[in-house]
């Protein structure tokens, strides 16, 4: 059934779809549960606010659907945060795929501007989404909340403190940064996901 990008009230669906097109993949953007269940791979994008987005997912039955998916799933940015247990953003209970809570950045000095916006490096990258060529490469971030380092951390970035740039457990993959906006490095990561 190919690649399905989950359609919901999030901001960057068009960008993710465009990135797929640049890789020669015609993804389906849909909220059709059957279609999502049958997909070879699922992308769960996201730019928005955690509590309102979770509310939308629950009202549309997408919360249980996403948790139960068996094929490779890639969460991006807010998508990744929603896959965690709880978010401080709007005090939202989330999907709980990753057993960790999302926290708000607290500036330690004046230079610590929030959101963490721009290009930063990823380190301690782990297979299979990341290969060693991605160690220390720059990717694009925009976020005010972060996922602490935990046993599912698949890549680390340092801003104010070291946090999870990516997560992985079983068939669930997630990036805090935007691979669809991270130039050739981002394309490399998306290609790795397509190859899973």
């Amino acid at each position: 059934m190919g690649i399905v990008i989950i359609k919901y009230n999030a901001g960057n669906i068009f960008s993710v779809d465009s990135a797929m097109k640049r890789l020669g993949v015609d993804a389906i953007v849909s909220d059709d549960k059957e279609l999502i269940r049958k997909a070879d791979k699922v992308i769960f994008p996201g730019v928005g606010e955690a509590s309102t987005t979770m509310k939308y997912l629950r009202e549309n039955g997408l919360d249980t659907l996403i948790k139960d998916l068996k094929q490779p799933v890639l969460g991006i940015c807010l998508g990744m945060q929603l896959m965690c247990k709880h978010s401080e953003e709007g005090n939202a209970d989330c999907l709980g795929i990753f057993d960790v809570n999302v926290k708000r950045f607290i500036p330690q000095k004046h230079e610590d501007k929030i959101p963490h916006m721009g290009w930063n490096t990823i380190t301690d990258v782990k297979n299979p989404l990341f290969d060693t060529t991605l160690e220390n490469q720059y990717v694009y971030f925009v976020h005010s909340y972060y996922v602490p380092i935990n046993s599912n951390t698949a890549a680390t970035t340092d801003y104010i403190l070291p946090f999870s740039a990516a997560l992985h457990t079983q068939n669930f993959y997630a990036t805090q940064f935007h691979p669809e906006k991270s130039g050739s490095v981002g394309e490399h990561i998306l290609t790795n996901f397509l190859k899973l």
Binding site: F14, S18, A19, H110, K113, Y140, K181, E187
Partner: protein
């Protein structure tokens, strides 16, 4: 470590023409998408596309262009110009823009900043400010620097931050086009008094100006147009230079 950003700015007219690149002997130099791809490949960290047209028909053309940019460019891009209401923001974001830049509209109706950040998140809202130092203080202008307002730069910038803007794009009208460097003193004061990123604009003429704007101006990003369009500075060379100057760039 978070990198300092280099941002080329493209002025768009009638959907295709890029102001100020007529001197470059490039094939299809007038196509902003092609130029955007070129800059992106050379290492630009973001792109800004400013719609300098006025009519409703031309706005439609611009929206179609935004879609074409989104399809072809794999780095973040901001669009600005002609954003009067929330509907315009929605239209541009739906076409694939990552951020929008508001300027005159925000000065006339500051609530638009609250509305954009509330509806789409503050990371979407770049507030552009054109200001001139009159010998006593920095005053803000609307309509591409044509009309003086009663807003003073530093208090307006603070207000913009409080209303939820995600970034400030500050252009010094005294420095713009003169190529003698950025307004580092004012930039530094902005950067030290605010907690959101500051994009510096106006005055880039040589490599050192970029180094200065990061070191002295404490800017988070530097925007320039003509030095890139006229081929005076290649982004690759600029990044190489900045790295040697000890500035963290991608």
């Amino acid at each position: 470590m978070l990198a300092k950003r280099i941002i080329p700015c493209l002025d768009i007219k009638d959907g295709t023409t890029v102001k100020g690149i007529n001197f470059v002997n490039l094939r299809d130099a007038g196509d902003p998408v092609e130029l955007g791809i070129k800059y992106s490949k050379e290492g630009a960290d973001e792109l800004v596309f400013l719609d300098i047209t006025a009519s409703h028909e031309e706005r439609k053309t611009f929206t179609e262009l935004v879609e074409r940019i989104a399809l072809n460019i794999s780095i973040p891009f901001t669009v600005g110009g002609g954003i009067n209401e929330l509907k315009d923001v929605d239209r541009l974001l739906s076409a694939g823009a990552d951020k929008v830049s508001v300027n005159s509209t925000a000065l006339r109706n500051p609530m638009i900043i609250d509305e954009i950040s509330k509806n789409f998140g503050s990371q979407v809202c770049v507030c552009a400010i054109d200001a001139r130092f009159d010998g006593k203080e920095w005053m803000c202008y609307t309509s591409g620097g044509r009309n003086l307002t009663d807003k003073e730069l530093f208090s307006w910038a603070k207000e913009v931050e409080n209303r939820g803007a995600g970034e400030i794009l500050f252009t010094s009208m005294n420095h713009d086009g003169v190529k003698q460097g950025y307004a580092n003193e004012a930039l530094c004061r902005l950067s030290e008094s605010l907690n959101i990123p500051i994009i510096a604009s106006g005055g880039a003429g040589n490599l050192q100006h970029f180094s200065d704007v990061f070191k002295e101006g404490k800017a988070d990003a530097a925007l320039a147009a003509s030095v890139f369009h006229f081929g005076e500075i290649a982004i690759k060379d600029l990044k190489y230079y900045l790295r040697n100057e000890g500035i963290n760039v991608r």
